[in-house]
């Protein structure tokens, strides 16, 4: 990650960086950053496509496991989900996580703080969070353009497990919650990386985050399975909006008022995390004492 940023920034050239005060110039900078990052990501497209297909393999085991559980239960539904819903749910959380997971973002930021590389952003008129966000968008666009094929293949093979195409409202809400999941994942991880201004090393924090999201984001099982008290706890964290919520929306499990409410809360978390990341950046750069060379 860090190497990628360094290279992109060198490619940008100083001229582009200096002419940034007007909006068209700013847009052009963003476009340049996006294009370079996109080109870089597409270098490894073969590995990407194979890796994406591979990532469905663990789901195969989960699907067999749930089949065995349903068979032993002898009842058509579990926590309101049929067996078909379970399969569809797993595939949809894969989709949600393709939007919300940000491999290497927080650790990359912390590494830049530790190595002193972050001070470039203090001198250059490029905003760190904006720059990283554009890189992520490019990364994701490149990823989707390659991963779309394996995803489409798997979804097509499993089409019988889905209740059919969702209606327009559900689909629109689902897409909105996917985009929000991307933003939430980005700013949440960026905020954790920025804590590196105080802690230098955030890997222990990231470990706790990984542990919590293993259970609370819902990518291991539909959160509706949790007993009552846990349900309340889960609804108090932003983690469920990273995987569970978009998947449940696309499955049609959340509708009407609950859907509007859920989207509003998700958007609220995004705004909260943007504010937190901005605040941490502002405080952190004041606290920063430029380690490394």
């Amino acid at each position: 990650m860090a190497r990628m940023h360094r290279r992109s920034r060198e490619n940008l050239g100083l001229e582009t960086l200096l002419v940034m005060t007007t909006l068209p110039a700013r847009l052009q900078t963003w476009w340049t950053i996006l294009r370079i990052a996109l080109a870089e990501r597409l270098v490894y497209r073969g590995d990407f496509a194979l890796g994406t297909l591979m990532r469905f393999l663990p789901i195969v085991t989960q699907i067999f496991l749930w089949f065995a559980v349903f068979q032993a239960r002898g009842q058509p539904t579990l926590a309101g989900y049929s067996y078909q819903d379970f399969v569809a749910y797993y595939l949809l959380t894969m989709l949600a996580r393709a939007f919300s997971s940000m491999p290497g973002l927080a650790s990359g930021i912390a590494a830049q703080i530790r190595s002193g590389e972050i001070k470039k952003f203090l001198i250059q008129p490029v905003d760190l969070l904006g720059f990283l966000l554009l890189c992520r968008v490019a990364h994701k666009l490149a990823y989707y353009s390659v991963a779309a094929l394996p995803f489409a293949l798997v979804f097509f093979l499993c089409r019988d497990y889905f209740p059919g195409w969702p209606d327009a409202v559900t689909l629109a809400a689902g897409v909105a919650s996917l985009v929000l999941a991307f933003l939430l994942g980005f700013f949440l991880e960026a905020a954790m990386g920025l804590i590196g201004f105080w802690w230098l090393e955030v890997s222990s924090l990231l470990f706790v985050y990984m542990l919590l999201s293993f259970f609370l984001s819902g990518h291991m099982f539909p959160l509706d399975m949790l007993p009552g008290r846990w349900q309340t706890a889960v609804h108090l964290t932003p983690l469920m909006y990273l995987a569970y919520f978009p998947a449940a929306v696309l499955l049609g499990k959340v509708q009407g008022l609950a859907l509007a409410q859920g989207l509003a809360i998700q958007a609220g978390w995004v705004l909260g995390m943007i504010a937190l990341a901005r605040w941490l950046w502002a405080r952190g750069t004041r606290h920063y004492s430029a380690f490394g060379g």
Partner: protein
């Protein structure tokens, strides 16, 4: 015999050196132990949640909660042994090949496969081994003391269990060293390493869950071709469910596991030697 003694002494030195290295960063060591145990607890939580909704994994398979937890404990024992002994080494093999570091290993007057498979021992991974022992103990006590259909532990079960755990470790090791050795041909084995992770994923559940149009061929493939399903299933059946509810005993599978262990060790040895023959030093 003297040969074996020399290898054992070298292994002892590897273990001591690794322990010294681990103990240089004691806090880090403790954190690693704790974090791997926490992961395990999280997994346990997931299965506890599943058993809130069902009596057993699969209808009439006999894998109730405590049987399955004994199965899970077996998975932990086997995986932690593989991670302690072989994982840190096999991870490095592709680096050894890319940087030409393998030259040094080839020059040493000791079997190359032995040297590069066991040089580093990650003691912190043993934390999960002890966690597995505890879970196994608890599960066995629960099964032995329940009023309905209690488990009767025979001497042969207690004797054969550790033996088949070691067989499982040997099978996983064979798979791992074979995949690592292919990086001599391919130069890079990043996705192969992922492949290893994904394929061992299949070994984590009782083999009965793989059934039906897709499951049966998958089960046969993972039993007879790449025997990952035998790794945990055989020892777990021996200790927790030697006879299935419908009367099937563990013996045919146990015999197969024995054959599979020997064959996979031989095949992996052959793959490793074949790969070594086409090694051309990479650096300078």
């Amino acid at each position: 015999m003297q040969h074996v003694a020399v290898y054992l002494r070298v292994l002892g030195t590897f273990a001591r050196n690794s322990l010294i290295r681990n103990m240089m960063f004691r806090a880090n060591f403790l954190v690693e132990c704790l974090s791997s145990i926490t992961w395990t607890l999280m997994n346990l939580g997931f299965y506890l949640l599943i058993f809130r909704y069902t009596q057993s994994i699969g209808a009439g398979t006999g894998w109730g909660q405590w049987e399955f937890f004994a199965f899970l404990a077996t998975t932990m024992l086997i995986n932690s042994l593989v991670q302690t002994l072989f994982m840190p080494n096999c991870e490095d093999i592709s680096d050894l090949i890319r940087t030409g570091g393998l030259d040094f290993a080839l020059l040493k007057p000791i079997d190359t496969q032995f040297l590069i498979s066991l040089e580093k021992i990650d003691w912190s991974s043993l934390a999960n081994f002890f966690a597995g022992l505890v879970l196994l103990g608890v599960s066995l006590v629960q099964m032995a003391t329940r009023p309905h259909d209690p488990l009767v532990l025979h001497a042969w079960m207690v004797l054969l269990y550790p033996f088949y755990v070691l067989c499982g470790v040997a099978m996983l090791y064979s798979l791992m060293i074979s995949l690592s050795a292919t990086s001599i041909w391919l130069g890079q084995n990043r996705s192969l390493y992922d492949f290893w992770f994904y394929i061992t994923n299949f070994s984590r559940y009782p083999m009965e869950i793989y059934q039906g149009r897709w499951g049966t061929p998958l089960r046969r493939f993972c039993t007879f071709i790449v025997p990952v399903l035998l790794v945990v299933n055989v020892p777990a059946r021996i200790i927790a469910r030697p006879v299935a509810p419908h009367g099937e005993t563990v013996w045919p599978l146990a015999a197969l596991a024995l054959v599979a262990t020997v064959v996979s060790l031989l095949v992996s040895r052959w793959i490793f030697l074949a790969a070594l023959r086409s090694y051309r030093s990479a650096s300078s």
